[in-house]
């Protein structure tokens, strides 16, 4: 039986290869999308954690996942926050969106450095002048930047003062005052990071701040990062399901066409199997096992191709879009490919089962 399945698949190698490839693309498509979603959110969460703050205060009417591209909060809030019990340090940032998915962050480097020890520089250092800019190694690599190079962003030229290890706060940083001036929001902030004298007070201080600053979304860092998941971003979740549905349809169509053609082509062979005592169940089993093998081969190839897309993402797409390998999605994507393929073999399978033996044997 297995020999017959392999023989059937190798009998038409191009058709088999194309079917496997199409299923592989289906799997790669799913895993790449899921990988980019997870990778981008995880790297955002990691950068947020890298700030070293315990609490984040965001502008009224913002959500945890909304893009911060304005500075509606007064920087006087820093002083207010610093007076609260257990608050050791508070620092604000301004975020200005660039071409998606980039953004530039203005920060008070002195306070930021006190909060977490500052960036670890691979070359250069913190901005000194108002037109200095510092970027992480991924952005520098993608844009081929070195210290001293000029980088044009938000309609002005910046001098690269340093290239730091990624994973902390943002990819592109300038002095707070410089970005406030450019964006026309002097004295205003996009969000505020708060560090406590002891993290054990986080929940208590969050609760206290919520009562004192009604309307301001205030999160513990743990809460903020845990909320950065696909399930909390409705549109992303919906988008993933749309892609999965498209992938299942693609898999269905490919397998349907491949197996339908195979059943037509093998009409006589199916007749022979039935003539020598093969039941309809055996014929169906043969097609199902053949399809299952195609789906499994396609899934394995699809997973392998995901490493290719990961490499392409790294080479061609700038951070913060990062593709992760999400291992627990391997069986899910494989399962989706199998389901799509099995749906595709239903009609050819029924056709094969219903074939009349004598007619099939006279098929030329």
């Amino acid at each position: 039986m297995n020999k017959l399945i392999f023989a059937n698949l190798t009998h038409r190698p191009v058709r088999t290869l194309l079917s496997v490839l199409a299923i592989a693309v289906e799997v790669t498509m799913i895993l790449t999308l899921v990988g980019v979603s997870h990778g981008t959110l995880d790297s955002t969460a990691a950068r947020a954690r890298g700030v070293g703050a315990d609490i984040v205060v965001r502008p009224p009417n913002s959500t945890v996942v909304s893009a911060l591209s304005s500075a509606p909060m007064s920087d006087k809030l820093i002083g207010v926050l610093m007076q609260q019990p257990h608050v050791a340090l508070a620092t604000g940032t301004v975020i200005q969106g660039l071409t998606f998915p980039d953004s530039i962050t203005g920060l008070d480097f002195a306070t930021f450095n006190k909060m977490n020890g500052g960036f670890t520089y691979l070359s250069g250092g913190d901005p000194v002048n108002e037109d200095d800019i510092t970027v992480d190694q991924y952005y520098a690599q993608h844009r081929h930047l070195r210290v001293g190079d000029t980088l044009r962003l938000v309609n002005r030229d910046w001098r690269v003062s340093g290239i730091f290890e990624g994973g902390k706060l943002a990819n592109i940083c300038v002095k707070l005052s410089a970005l406030q001036a450019i964006t026309g929001s002097p004295g205003h902030l996009s969000q505020i990071y708060v560090k406590l004298d002891d993290s054990k007070w986080t929940d208590a201080v969050v609760a206290e701040l919520k009562t004192k600053m009604p309307g301001y979304p205030i999160y513990s860092m743990e809460e903020l990062t845990s909320m950065l998941s696909i399930n909390n971003i409705g549109m992303l979740k919906d988008f993933i399901w749309v892609v999965i549905t498209v992938a299942v349809i693609v898999g269905f169509i490919v397998v349907f066409l491949a197996m339908y053609t195979a059943v037509l082509e093998r009409t006589r062979e199916i007749g022979i199997l039935k003539a020598v005592g093969g039941s309809s169940g055996l014929v169906l089993e043969l097609l199902l096992r053949e399809t299952m093998l195609l789906a499994l081969l396609g899934s394995v190839l699809g997973i392998a191709l995901t490493y290719g897309t990961q490499w392409l993402m790294k080479m061609l797409v700038p951070p913060p879009l990062v593709q992760e390998t999400v291992y627990y999605w391997w069986p899910i994507a494989g399962g989706i490919a199998v389901v799509g393929s099995m749906l595709g073999v239903v009609v050819p399978g029924v056709k094969a089962v219903q074939q009349d033996v004598t007619e099939a044997l006279s098929y030329e």
Binding site: M1, L4, A7, T10, H11, I272, A275, G277, T358
Partner: protein
Amino acid sequence: MSEGVMGAVGAGRVAALAEPIIQVRGLTKIYHVGDVEVHALRGSNLEIARGEFVAIVGASGSGKSTLFHILGGLTPPTAGTVVIDGKDLARMSNQERTELRKTTVGFVFQKYNLLPTLSAEDNIKIVEYIGGRPTAFTPEFVEVLHLLGIADRMKHKPRALSGGQQQRVAIARGIVNNPAILLADEPTGNLDSQNSAAVLAVLKDLNERTGQTILMITHDPEAASYASRTVHIRDGRIV
């Protein structure tokens, strides 16, 4: 297979010669082609004893292929009774007819009907697999392969075999599960005279040595001469 083994099996079968293995009474088959009724068989009667080698001879369109398909459980009769090895075919469901093909009847077709993607050996073994038997050839069956002259051609795919060799593989496939009856439909129809003679000699030898019941459909009187009995069919009736 050795003379001793073959002889013993053959003697057992020959002893049961009088017992009918195929009984056909009033067999009728009507095909519907659009609104037209085509009477392929018109109340045919036939009785074949266990161990016989019978040739059914008739011209094209006489109904012999329809008779072959009905006796093989490939298609149901319209009316009449067909008892094969004690089982009434007319009362059988599709599933039961499948079981009959698996256990009781072996086929040899004019066009060989070997699976082109499998080797000769696997073409035979898949029938063993379908029959629920171990897919390893017994020493006795290996001797049958030698008798058929194809023991050294087992690894070849059908396209690498001559027509005569393919037909002998088909014969081996037809008998591998020890069916009670071997049905052969124009087994020499696609062969030259030399290969035809060889295949017919193999069938005759098989019948004589093992007592295998063989029912051969043919339009060729010379082929029919290899059988122990010849039955003629004309216009859907056995005459």
